[in-house]
Amino acid sequence: MIDVAFLEATVRSLLGGVPLTLSLTAGSVALGGVLAALAAWGRLSGVAPADWLARLYIFVFRGTPLLVQIFLIYYGLGQFRPTLQAWGLWTVFREPYWCALLALALNTGAYTAEIFRGAVLSVPNGALVAGRACGMPRVLLFRRVTLPLATRQALPAYGNEVISVVKATSLASTITLMEITGIAQKLIAQSFRALEVFVCAGAFYLALTFVIIGALRLAEAWLSPDLRPRPVARPA
């Protein structure tokens, strides 16, 4: 009963959407990481205006659906077209790709900011005191003590966030971008064989998820030298 020729053609079409899915993921994770670092810094800085600005950003972008954010940027900003044209920004906001990227980055940035903040707060105070006792200046202390410890702490939650970004890129299909889900939707509407197309497209996403999980395990092992088995002492 399995129509191999149809499945093969479906997989081949869907493969064409993989580069766009990957580029949206990579772009929004990178830009979102920068936004998250800024927002986490704002929350931890102790400077009241920066703290409140970061809080507001995180509250708004975590409290509304991503699809609303995408529509607000792609369709909504069209309302201010003359202004944007005057500022020379229209070339960016006219493109669905940049709008999707911006919305995804703003969205994941808000979630990631909380992950980063929690990770920095989890660094044991003793480690910081020890670093300071050795005479480390603030920047060196951050680079050598806070950053490695916080990174290791943040990694599992951060990995989950990256996986949800992969899934979230599917919403770009609602603003005409033909990534994996966009192509799948087109194929379903043409062939009306929803289940077969769903299975193929789902397999692509699951494969991407497993690759990320694998990469994460490697990174975690690399950042946790203390958990590795000790080298066997050579007899003197």
């Binding site: 609303v68 529509f71 607000l72 599917s170 889900t181 769903f198």
Partner: protein
């Protein structure tokens, strides 16, 4: 027209329509959440059961539904449901496109998706259960059904509450995706308003504000419920 009259409740105002659509969103999310609780409970008990086939099936369900985009699931149910219904209607001589009710598709999709997440929440809460409580119940002569009802269920519900709160928030925001089926929930209503007034920013901003109000109220409600459920514990 200013944004206030546009979103107000007077003649030509869209305020009433948007509020009504927010009600649809809430109903959609609530029904999806309840269906998800049933599916999640079943999947969690399958995962905890000793039967290998049941466990594998439940593991497959949660892995698949948590790894595949929600939009794809909605497309599957919407188009797949229509195709299946069309074939069924064909048996009775009805031809052409048969649409499935969009609300039903939305509830099914949100239920199936959130069920996969709720299964993990319930499983975690069950594993955190203090075995001594069950032993004590057995010692006073309670039978299995009674233990489940009086001891296990209330304790699991209490420990699952924070996790269920997270699932609810995700579900609420996911419900916006159901707008692709044409169901007039909050986002779809905003789209309609944006299209007919050519003021998309105003309408999507209003929709965003309503979502924000619903999620904020939910956060508050869940923290109250958690405090209430923990009143006996330290």
């Amino acid at each position: 027209m200013s944004a206030f009259t546009l979103l107000g409740f007077g003649p030509g105002g869209w305020g009433g329509a948007l509020l009504l659509a927010a009600g649809t969103t809430l109903a959609l999310a609530l029904c999806g959440f309840l269906l998800g609780a049933v599916l999640g409970g079943l999947a969690a008990s399958a995962k905890l059961s000793g039967l290998l086939p049941l466990r594998l099936a439940a593991d497959g369900y949660t892995t698949l539904l948590r790894g595949v985009p929600d939009l794809l699931v909605i497309y599957l149910l919407y188009f797949g449901g229509s195709a299946a219904l069309g074939q069924f209607a064909g048996l009775f001589g009805v031809t052409g496109f048969v649409g499935v009710p969009a609300f039903g598709v939305g509830v099914a999709a949100l239920g199936i998706i959130s069920g996969a997440y709720q299964a993990e929440v319930f499983r975690g809460a069950y594993l955190a259960l203090d075995r001594g409580q069950i032993e004590a119940a057995r010692a006073v002569g309670m039978h299995r059904g009674l233990i489940l009802r009086r001891v296990v269920a209330p304790l699991v519900a209490r420990d699952a509450l924070p996790g269920l709160g997270n699932v609810w928030q995700i579900l609420l925001k996911d419900s916006a995706l159901v707008s692709v089926t044409g169901l007039v929930e909050l986002l779809r209503q905003a789209q309609v308003g944006a299209g007919s007034t050519r003021q998309p920013f105003t309408f999507y901003l209003a929709a965003g504000a309503l979502y924000l109000a619903i999620t904020s109220l939910s956060t508050w409600g869940f923290s109250k419920a958690e405090a209430h459920a923990r009143r006996g514990a330290r």
